[in-house]
């Protein structure tokens, strides 16, 4: 199983990402300790040249980190045929204790890597490396998480035993079981719909307000993060039911399968990308008054806001379309 092409790709990629991030962090430490833009010393000029390499390298590395979340989900979904009991990624992830922690960590790293890329993009547009120490400090926070992801992912794939009988998504995401997911799937649909649409409406409204008035960036940023959480809960609680047209099937992974037109991919992609763009607006906010970024940050923030608004609207449109036109009539569940 370890020789499955996707697993090998994830292995190699995670090792490369970890190595590159470690290499970059070593220079990051040096930059945090020794960077002095006023100095014309050999070390300073060396660090200035080196930061181009690191920045370019990390752009590709984190670009792949973003992709690897979807490759991971795709892979575990494909592997479900190898395990008795597994119907989709949900069962495969449950084969050992590392599947879900890896997924959660990949999700966290996806968001953090996206935010790092936004910070790096803004920094590269300033003439005096205005965010250099901040972005390398951020990198140092991200590095152990990337390593933890590599270790967890390796443990997960190495621990895949085809003789294990796993649980199917029907039992993992069902009402009546004990645990957080059961409590989430048991949430009543109408209040959850209200929470989902109010959260999304507030986020989109605050995004539009920031886009046109240049005010409320932090609110929009926080709203984007909250919208991610409410949307994930809503997917479990009621959204996926409309795709499956079954009132009891709450699996967030089956929508990634061919039977449902792989609709899970655009759904998660729009949601996650919209969240990163929205949160990025707030991340850049403290640097609006930095001299070399005073014209750049507002422009980048506008682009991010627009991207976020489009992506969240698209996500809501897919959900709403399915909710309205599904054969399932869900009332009171």
């Amino acid at each position: 199983m370890i020789f499955h092409p996707s697993i090998l790709a994830l292995y190699v990629a995670s090792l490369l990402i970890s190595f590159m991030v470690l290499y970059s962090s070593a220079y990051g430490v040096q930059i945090l300790r020794r960077w002095d833009i006023q100095s014309g010393s050999e070390l300073q000029l060396f660090l200035e040249r080196k930061t181009y390499l690191i920045s370019t390298l990390l752009t590709y590395v984190f670009g792949f980190e973003l992709l690897s979340l979807f490759l991971y989900i795709f892979t575990v979904d494909q592997l479900s045929t190898f395990f008795v009991g597994a119907m989709c990624a949900a069962g495969t992830l449950y084969v050992n204790n590392y599947g879900y922690p890896t997924l959660i960590l990949k999700l966290v790293n996806f968001l953090l890597a996206g935010l790092w890329l936004i910070l790096n993009y803004a920094d590269n547009r300033g003439y005096d490396y205005p965010l250099i120490k901040k972005k390398y400090f951020f990198l140092l926070i991200l590095t152990p998480l990337i390593f933890a992801e590599t270790v967890l992912q390796a443990n997960y794939f190495l621990g895949l035993n085809p003789n294990i009988i796993t649980s199917c998504c029907g039992s993992l995401f069902s009402v009546g079981e004990q645990g957080f997911t059961s409590e989430v799937v048991a949430l009543p649909s109408i209040p959850m719909k209200i929470v989902f649409y109010v959260a999304m409406a507030l986020t989109i409204a605050s995004g539009l307000y920031f886009y046109y008035k240049n005010k409320g960036a932090y609110f929009f940023s926080c709203a984007s993060a909250i919208t991610l959480l409410t949307s994930l809960v809503s997917i479990l609680s009621f959204i996926c039911l409309y795709f499956y047209e079954l009132p009891t099937h709450h699996c967030p992974f089956c929508i990634l399968q061919k039977e449902y037109g792989y609709v899970g991919y655009p759904l998660y992609l729009t949601l996650l990308s919209g969240t990163i763009s929205g949160m990025g607006v707030g991340v850049l906010m403290p640097f609006r008054n930095t001299k070399s970024l005073s014209e750049i940050v507002p422009s980048v923030q506008k682009k991010l806001t627009l991207a976020s608004l489009i992506l969240f609207t698209l996500f809501t449109a897919i959900v709403t379309y399915r909710t309205v036109f599904s054969n399932l009539i869900l009332e009171g569940y």
Binding site: G40, S41, E42, L45, Y127, Y129
Partner: protein
């Protein structure tokens, strides 16, 4: 004003073939003057001009251009400075064969995205100024040595830079053409251009148009005259 602060340039640093081309040079270059860097081959003249013109980064030290520090600038900003501030005349003419003289001269302006019509008009007025109008449509390989040299000067001026950098510009010219070249330099000086020339040609550094001669030897400045 261009100020060089402790500029040092080392090639192949840390390797057996390490070579120190410039040893901690401090220098102030006055604007609107013609300055010649004089010295034998391998003395560091070309390296020094490359560093000043943002074509190469120093190993250590800083350069101030009109009060702005430029050596620390990220590449995207250096490209802009190279385009807008400096015009280069190389020892090898570096003209593209098979392309007209006019197209060769307009080439450095293309990245700016300027519309073709005003750009062509500007190029043609420069061709007029250098008595090259009749040769604008000619391929560069059909031009004489002097004409080709003048095309490189038009090319250096196409973005209206404030500083002209010429590296051994008379190396491949006979005496008559070299004198003609210095007449053009005199004209550029009257147009308030700052001109930096690397040369060991007496026709250049002994020319009356020169304001300052800086002797460069073994990567050091010997004296200023």
């Amino acid at each position: 004003m261009i100020e060089l602060i402790n500029i040092r340039k080392v090639f192949n640093q840390g390797k057996p073939n390490e070579f120190v081309a410039i040893h901690g040079i401090n220098l102030l270059i006055t604007p609107h003057q013609v300055t010649v860097f004089k010295g034998p081959s391998g003395s560091g003249k070309t390296t020094l001009l490359s560093v000043i013109g943002c074509m190469a980064r120093p190993t250590s030290g800083r350069i101030m251009l009109s009060g702005r520090e430029i050596t620390s600038l990220p590449e995207r900003f250096l490209t802009e400075i190279r385009q807008k501030t400096f015009g280069f005349i190389f020892q090898q003419l570096n003209l593209i064969k098979g392309v007209s003289a006019l197209e060769n001269a307009m080439l450095p302006a293309y990245p700016s995205g300027e519309k073709h019509a005003p750009l062509k008009k500007r190029a043609m007025s420069l061709f007029d100024l250098f008595d090259l109008s009749s040769k604008a449509a000619s391929r560069v390989e059909w031009l004489s040595g002097g004409e080709a040299q003048r095309v490189t000067i038009v090319r250096a001026l196409i973005n209206n830079p404030s500083v002209i950098i010429a590296d051994e510009p008379t190396a491949h010219l006979d005496s008559k053409l070299s004198r003609e070249f210095m007449e053009i330099i005199a004209r550029l000086k009257t147009e308030q251009k700052t001109v930096l020339i690397a040369s060991h040609d007496p026709l250049v550094y002994e020319s009356p148009v020169i304001d300052r001669v800086i002797n460069v030897r073994d990567g050091n400045i010997e004296r200023s005259a």
